[in-house]
């Protein structure tokens, strides 16, 4: 009886496991730069005790939380601090998203509108008067430059250039490319197809893909996020039935669909979760099993500093990417100390957050400037914007680095054997 009571005494998000050790407060990037944020311990397990008694204890300052989960990674007792905070926002916040928030959060809607006009939209969004309007009217910080919109979406390129060749392969994967690859940086998607094809895998898009919804959750639009999540899950189920693993090239999309769908949005993803993987992890696992082999160019040389994106760290998958990169003979590898870059998706775009966002990232930018690498590698696209803007050092996804270093001919031959 006593044993039963003890083992069943587990609360939602492990909040009762909190020992009040205060370790989480050491690692919160937000409370490090502003006293206006109550910090993970107070906003999380401590505040939750009060909120459970009465919702008046909910504090809108919780919206300052980046949802970076660095507190969770640090907590020795597996308290899901970030989840507690986000769940409280979903449950209690009465704050209505502004037009600006809706615009920033609807990455695919805005992308769809902007892409055809990319030659116009890109320069216009960079113009000073336009930035001034965005800053004052919309609340999008003037220091920010929107990532360029590509005038040819990845999906359009894929359908025309890649799709017809994919059936010749004997093994297949589905690719959840995400908004960023589709609208802003199709090159990463092309690199992905190049690498997967070289090791003998055909790449396919999902029947229907919606933005994973991470920005919607952050901006208080969890209902819409849930609808989009359901669409993704049902497309993925179809791919899985065909025997495909669903690969991504973004750590944040992966984390959102594997963990936040279930924890925050209440989407049942238990039958899909294990089939969603990051491309670097998938490749690493196949190489380790001896099922594929990568051959690299002899003339490739690059000094690469790896930045651990917050959600990559939360998933615990950093070593898949770093050990994969370290297989490249011409690559000089430097591990950066793990720190938040401060952008957190749409957070750093808001003018009220700009200064805080740059202050959070400063430690990381200083490290990068000290190391002076040829490029920074990271698995997250918003870190790429932030680091490139703040340091001028180019940032590449590990898949793009592999694609650049790959000896395609030799790899194709090795994998045919």
């Amino acid at each position: 009886m006593a044993t039963e009571t003890q083992t069943q005494n587990v609360s939602v998000n492990n909040f009762e496991q909190c020992l009040k050790c205060s370790i989480c407060t050491v690692y919160c990037p937000v409370s490090a730069v502003t006293p206006l944020y109550p910090g993970p311990k107070q906003a999380g397990p401590d505040g939750e005790r009060y909120r459970l008694k009465d919702k008046v204890f909910f504090d809108e300052s919780l919206k300052m939380c980046l949802n970076c989960k660095r507190c969770e990674v640090a907590c020795p007792n597996d308290v899901h601090i970030g989840d507690i905070i986000q769940a409280a926002r979903i449950k209690y916040s009465t704050h209505k998203p502004s037009l600006r928030d809706m615009m920033l959060a609807n990455t695919d809607l805005v992308g769809t509108m902007a892409s055809p006009f990319a030659p116009i939209a890109n320069p216009v969004l960079k113009l000073k008067p336009m930035k001034a309007v965005l800053h004052s009217v919309m609340g999008i910080d003037k220091h920010r430059t929107f990532p360029d919109y590509s005038n040819r979406k990845f999906e359009s390129w894929f359908k025309k250039e890649a799709a017809p060749n994919q059936d010749q392969y004997s093994k297949h994967v589905s690719y959840f490319h995400g908004c960023y690859v589709n609208y802003n940086y199709p090159q990463l998607g092309k690199d992905m197809v190049k690498v997967m094809n070289a090791v003998g895998y055909g790449v396919h898009l999902l029947e229907k893909e919606k933005c994973c919804g991470v920005a919607l959750i952050a901006n208080g639009m969890s209902k819409q996020a849930k609808r989009q999540g359901e669409v993704n899950m049902s497309s993925m189920r179809k791919a899985i039935v065909e025997g495909h693993v669903v690969l991504t090239s973004s750590s944040t999309c992966t984390f959102t669909m594997r963990d936040e769908y279930d924890h925050l949005l209440g989407i049942d993803n238990h039958d899909v979760r294990d089939s969603i993987s990051l491309a670097t992890r998938f490749l690493f696992q196949l190489i380790e099993k001896g099922e594929i082999k990568l051959e690299f160019r002899k003339d490739f040389h690059k000094r690469v500093a790896y930045h651990s994106a917050c959600h990559m760290e939360r998933m615990g998958w950093v070593p898949y990417s770093t050990r994969l990169l370290r297989m490249i003979p011409g690559l000089e590898f430097v591990m950066l100390e793990s720190q938040c870059c401060g952008i957190s998706g749409t957070y750093g775009f808001k003018k009220e957050n700009y200064e805080r966002s740059q202050a959070i990232g400063k430690g990381l930018f200083d490290q990068i400037n000290d190391v002076a690498p040829d490029c920074v590698a990271t698995d997250c696209e918003t870190c790429k914007w932030q680091i490139e803007m703040s340091t001028g050092v180019p940032v590449m996804n590990p898949i793009s680095i592999i694609a650049e270093a790959l000896d395609v001919e030799a790899t194709i031959i090795s994998n045919k054997k």
């Binding site: 044993t3 407060t25 409370s31 944020y37 109550p38 070593p319 770093t322 050990r323 100390e337």
Partner: protein, 413 residues
């Protein structure tokens, strides 16, 4: 994923083992479920503070040879040599310490006790001999409204030893800002504010205004998370002798040690699995082939050798339920003293608590056992080892580092 050695647990013992193995050229992985008890560490490392009769120890090396047979130090081949190696490991990680294994000095605890210790981080308040206090008049200078520096206890502790103590406080507009969120006015956040705003010179001015006439200024250790540079600068800028006393957790010198040790480990090429937990071992006969973790579903971490350094009850390296004490990660045997639960603890908290002596069973080479069989390639190190009461003996950092280094030696043999 395959490595030469996998360390489970990223506290002082796990990091020490990881660094020593990486320095020896091994491909090492370290898996740690969250941050460690180093965050409570006071900026000093204890080797042996009290012997089994409870007497203060002056020469730890001598006293260690008189310890009972169950103490983990009995499995160390050459305590004196490994103590020297430990100091060097810290030094190469950027952690300069003062102190010798054959000669304790005394540290000032956050609540004003003077405790015998082995190594102290530079700048920490220490005295050569607690019997003859070198300070006549001490100013305890706190930051206004900082609650994790219990000045009343500290002052009382020092006054008991015949020192005249005045409690003072200073503030600066930047530090005042922190008071907007009282729960976040913690040592590490103060350190971040001081460092980002470059407040050293201003603080030195404030302290110098107070310091006249004192022969020692004691400050809360709220500087230098990433290195000891800023904390050193401040002490130089203060006109009278000044030192730091560790605060209540989180402790900045402890966080600094954690940060620097981890940095050293990754700089040596070690792979850190952050915030992941070992949940199962894959045993074949008397060898451990690999471990599974909570987050790497589908991947087993394999290695030739393993070190279990998951800490004690507080870090969940050991778990107690109503009937027994067990080791949750790999299910290795625990020396639970065969006691009835009612006798695990004593009602008077100041008494020696029997549960403190529980820990995993090991052979003379620090190898773990499962169902009575020794596992040939699984070593235990640090506070997961039983056989001693680290609070009563004041020996935890020494046990952490020395058993880690001994396990490394045994692996490299």
């Amino acid at each position: 994923m395959k490595f030469d050695v996998i360390i489970i647990g990223g506290g002082l013992s796990g990091l020490t083992a990881g660094i020593a193995l990486a320095e020896a050229g091994k491909d090492v992985a370290l898996v740690s479920a969250g941050q460690s008890t180093l965050h409570f560490g006071g900026g000093s490392l204890d080797l042996l503070g009290y012997d089994e009769q409870g007497n203060e120890v002056k020469n730890p090396l001598d006293a260690i040879s008189n310890l009972n047979g169950n103490h983990p130090y009995k499995k160390i081949e050459d305590v004196s040599r490994l103590a020297g190696v430990a100091k060097k490991v810290l030094e190469r990680a950027g952690i300069a310490t003062a102190g010798e294994a054959n000669h304790n000095h005394w540290r000032v605890s956050p609540i004003g006790a003077l405790l015998p210790t082995w190594l102290s981080l530079e700048g920490m308040a220490t005295v050569e001999d607690a019997g003859t206090m070198p300070w006549k008049r001490v100013a305890l200078v706190n930051v206004v409204n900082f609650l994790d520096f219990p000045t009343k206890f500290l002052a009382a502790g020092l006054r008991n030893r015949g020192v005249e103590v005045d409690v003072k406080a200073f503030t600066l507009p930047e530090l005042e800002q922190l008071r907007k969120s009282p729960t976040e006015m913690r040592s590490t956040n103060i350190a971040k504010v001081i460092e980002t705003n470059n407040l050293i010179a201003k603080i030195a001015n404030e302290v110098n205004d107070i310091a006249g006439g004192y022969d020692m200024v004691l400050l809360p250790a709220v500087l230098g998370i990433g290195s000891s540079e800023t904390s050193r600068h401040l002490l130089k800028a203060i006109k009278v002798p000044a030192n730091y006393v560790a605060t209540l957790p989180p402790s900045v010198p402890g966080v600094r040690m954690q940060t620097l040790l981890r940095k050293r480990f990754t700089a040596l090429g070690g792979t850190f699995f952050t915030g992941d937990q070992v949940i199962e071992g894959n045993f074949e006969g008397d060898t451990l082939k690999g471990v599974k973790t909570a987050k790497l579903d589908g991947t087993t971490l394999e290695a030739d050798n393993f070190v279990l350094a998951t800490g004690s009850f507080m870090s969940r390296g050991l778990v107690a339920d109503y009937n027994h004490v067990y080791e949750p990660a790999l299910g290795v045997d625990v020396e639970d003293l065969g006691l009835d639960r009612n006798t695990w603890s004593k009602i008077d908290v100041t008494e020696s608590q029997p549960y403190m002596e529980m820990g995993v069973k090991t052979d003379s080479c620090l190898r773990c056992q499962r169902a009575g069989n020794t596992i040939a390639n699984l070593y235990a190190a640090g506070s997961i080892l039983g056989g001693h009461n680290s609070i009563k003996r004041l020996d935890s950092a020494g046990v952490d580092m020395l058993t880690a280094l001994q396990a490394v030696n045994n692996i490299l043999k």
